[in-house]
Symmetry: C2
Subunit: 318 residues, 2 copies
DNA sequence: GCCATTCATGTTAGCGATATCATTACCATG
DNA sequence: CATGGTAATGATATCGCTAACATGAATGGC
């Protein structure tokens, strides 16, 4: 017991004993076994998180935010990515719950029925991120993808653009891409602009290369397009490169805007107008909320919603 | 015991019992507790991995390779990133070993003494990646960063370039960046070329923005530079943008090459010459080796080395 | 009809930590 | 000196599972 106490930094161990313990630990190469500890104490020290992809820098920023915040409390992250598939998410939730995480962070608000049931039965706090779910499971840290895209369209409309195109993925899986497209359409309608030209291209995440190809398609179908909005900065960059290869001047011949405020949008030439969505902050806040609920189980913060900022960043490409 | 067997897909459970069990599990919402299971069976189902950063797509590709390969075997990844710090690595190794992983994958060959000691005492297979350590702990899946960079210099030299510059980070922490710079220098010396112009800029990972600034420094210090090689494609892209802002023609006025074959190098305009290093494959192979050793503990593959391919990809920027 | 064999299920004893309660040693106080 | 209080340490049971062995039931071969 004194060893256990010493390793937990309890002040109920005398200095002498403490030193003897650490000396012995060092000599023996003893390493505490946390699975035994958590079996006994009912606290695993795990938090689970599932993101669509870790290659896409937006979500990996969120993962960084989560990790950084958890680290302060000594919690460990169990991270999985599901390639935008709710079915893979379901089996990952199942696998992770077997590790008895003390909380779980999900991306988006769309989950299979079984996923929802498992999460409700688990009796741990859940945070859904990156979205405003119609039927939240528990807590939410996110923003409206539709509103964000709509804001971008409206901002550009005030600059005089009228003929808009939208480049996104085939919208089966990427629910956030879906909502951005819906926000695009509704803003167009609201402003009474000419019908938006929508190109759906490939499975998420839409790559630079796919953005380039989609831009080719926009230019050949609707050569008079004034501005092309892309589902992410990566595809926007691909689109930009395609225009440059064709000798088009940006934004004079055609303007381009992206989404997500990736590093590349701020660094390429011309710089790309984008929507900043505080990815790192989403992760940090989600972890923060989880930790709060874990540490104060007496008043759980069920159904609380944190709305994160969205902000259009206008640059030279529009 | 029958429940335990049924959940492990043992064929020692009759169809009837199996169905009864799953029905009850469904009704009760029972979820297996793996920490209890691993305490008893001495198998946790964890593999630990530590990378320098998860924002950098090269390392997140490696993490993807690891995850994809582990998933086939039902192993779960415990992932951490250390911001290129061997000290943070040390405390992460300590934290992870408390979870009793069945194997561990590290990036690079440089670790603190205590890290090495802990790993040796842990009695689990270790794979070092992305490098050829002078003193390998156990198994290695990697390549020589110096050779790769040297190969790039030599390839460019055959095209007639003679005045080389190198853009990298201040080389305290990023050991792989270090080695690339050394490979650059040694190739220059070997070929009898004019002394390389080295700009060290910022802490790793060198961003696009830093690449741009470093390029500015190259151009003002040595305006007659013929080719600038960058420690990564991200900084190469930043450098490229800086040149374009200054109205320089690439590669006529100055050529640019990067390292890592990021998506952006293949997609920007002009496309950037780079060195491909099979990041995903490194992850896949490292996990594969670990799994082999875990599954065949009778003949451990200590000190085995897998050399991954490096390949210069010449594009329009040189 | 008996024993050997196979298949399915049950029993028991831990795995290595911590929660909880018990004990001891020591000191201060009236 | 007895009493009570505090600080440090110890003893025991338990967390939920699985390894290992034991048992029972069904089958088949001679």
């Amino acid at each position: 017991m004194s060893v256990s106490r010493a390793l937990k930094n309890s002040d109920l161990v005398s200095q002498v004993t403490r030193e003897r313990i650490f000396k012995a630990i060092d000599e023996l190469g003893y390493v505490l076994d946390l699975s035994a500890g958590s079996l006994s104490s009912k606290r695993t020290g795990f938090v689970a998180a599932i993101v669509p992809s870790i290659n896409n820098s937006n979500f990996s920023d969120t993962a960084r935010g989560i990790t950084d915040e958890l680290e302060k409390t000594g919690l460990q992250l169990l991270l999985a990515y599901n390639d935008y598939s709710a079915e893979r998410e379901e089996s990952q939730i199942e696998a992770m719950l077997r590790r008895r995480p003390e909380g779980i962070i999900l991306t988006g608000g769309i989950h299979t029925d079984r996923s929802r049931r498992m999460l409700e039965n688990a009796g741990i706090p859940v945070v859904e991120t990156w979205d405003l779910p119609a039927k939240p499971i528990d807590q939410v840290v996110g923003f409206s993808n539709a509103d964000a895209m709509s804001l971008l369209v409206k901002t550009l409309a005030t600059k005089g653009y009228r003929k808009f195109a939208y480049i996104g993925g085939t919208t089966e899986r990427d629910t956030r891409g879906n909502q951005r497209r819906a926000g695009f359409q509704s803003a167009i309608a609201e402003l009474g602009l000419p019908e938006g030209r929508v190109v759906s291209f490939g499975v998420p995440p839409i790559s630079m290369e796919q953005g380039a190809q989609a831009m080719g398609s926009v230019l050949s179908q609707w050569p008079d397009t004034e501005v092309a909005i892309c589902v992410s900065d990566l595809s926007a960059f691909g689109a930009l490169m395609e225009c440059q290869r064709r000798g088009l001047k940006i934004p004079k011949d055609i303007a381009i805007a992206g989404f997500g405020n990736y590093e590349i949008a701020a660094c390429c030439h011309p710089r790309i107008t984008s929507v900043d969505i505080e990815c790192y902050e989403i992760g940090r806040l989600a972890a923060r909320k989880l930790i709060n609920t874990i540490q104060n189980p007496e008043h759980p913060s069920r159904n609380e919603l944190v709305l994160t900022n969205i902000r259009v960043i206008e640059r030279e490409s529009t």
